[in-house]
Amino acid sequence: MIRVLVSPDAIDSAGEMAALETDGGAVATFTGLVRADDGVSVLELEHYPGATEAALVRLAEAARVRWGLSAATIVHRVGPMRPGERIVFVGTASAHRAAALEACAFLIDRLKTDAPFWKRETVGDATRWVEARAHDDAAAQRWRD
């Protein structure tokens, strides 16, 4: 079962995690939070409606097939958010722990490079668009065949 949600609402990670506990085995999750330690007061996420959701569904489906998952969930918040709030939740379910863990890592690495999202930070009175980082590309690259 694939679940993808892109929404300005707060992410219900507990509910998403519980929903993955369907038929036993293993559930792995990753939650990304707005970092509170670098002076950012507001983080804003922009996306490409329709194309972003489609990219996330493709990613989740690729993981489901590659690792034989029973379920995969990607929830990504958009719009303005504050330090400590959840930006992204990824969850995977499988009969086997290694499959759940690897697929979870795959999804978070790949969604950073393969899905159209853009971050803008506010620090003090200044706002700036976050630049893509080479090590995100490297992290995503390790999953290529």
Partner: protein, 83 residues
């Protein structure tokens, strides 16, 4: 043809989307960007650094030298920074 802009490309162009009819010689994303850059100072500023631009044709990520024949929607944006 609908053109969409995101992030700082959108801010510099000044609009989130526009409908355009490029001349027939404009047959790749790169050529489209060249042509769009002539429309305003904002467009020119948005497209000044070509190596910082990425594109999607009909919602599929493509290289800038990809053809646009038959495309209904072309999006131009900076490298993505989600997750």
């Amino acid at each position: 043809m609908k053109i969409l802009y995101f992030a700082w490309v959108r801010e510099r162009v000044g609009v989130a989307e526009e409908d355009v009819t490029p001349p027939s010689g404009v047959d790749t994303v790169a050529a489209l960007v060249d042509w769009l850059a002539t429309r305003s100072d904002g467009h020119a500023a948005a497209f000044a650094e070509r190596d910082k631009l990425r594109a999607a044709v009909d919602q599929a990520f493509v290289a800038l030298d990809s053809p646009i024949a038959g495309a209904r929607e072309v999006a131009i944006f900076p490298p993505v920074t989600g997750g």
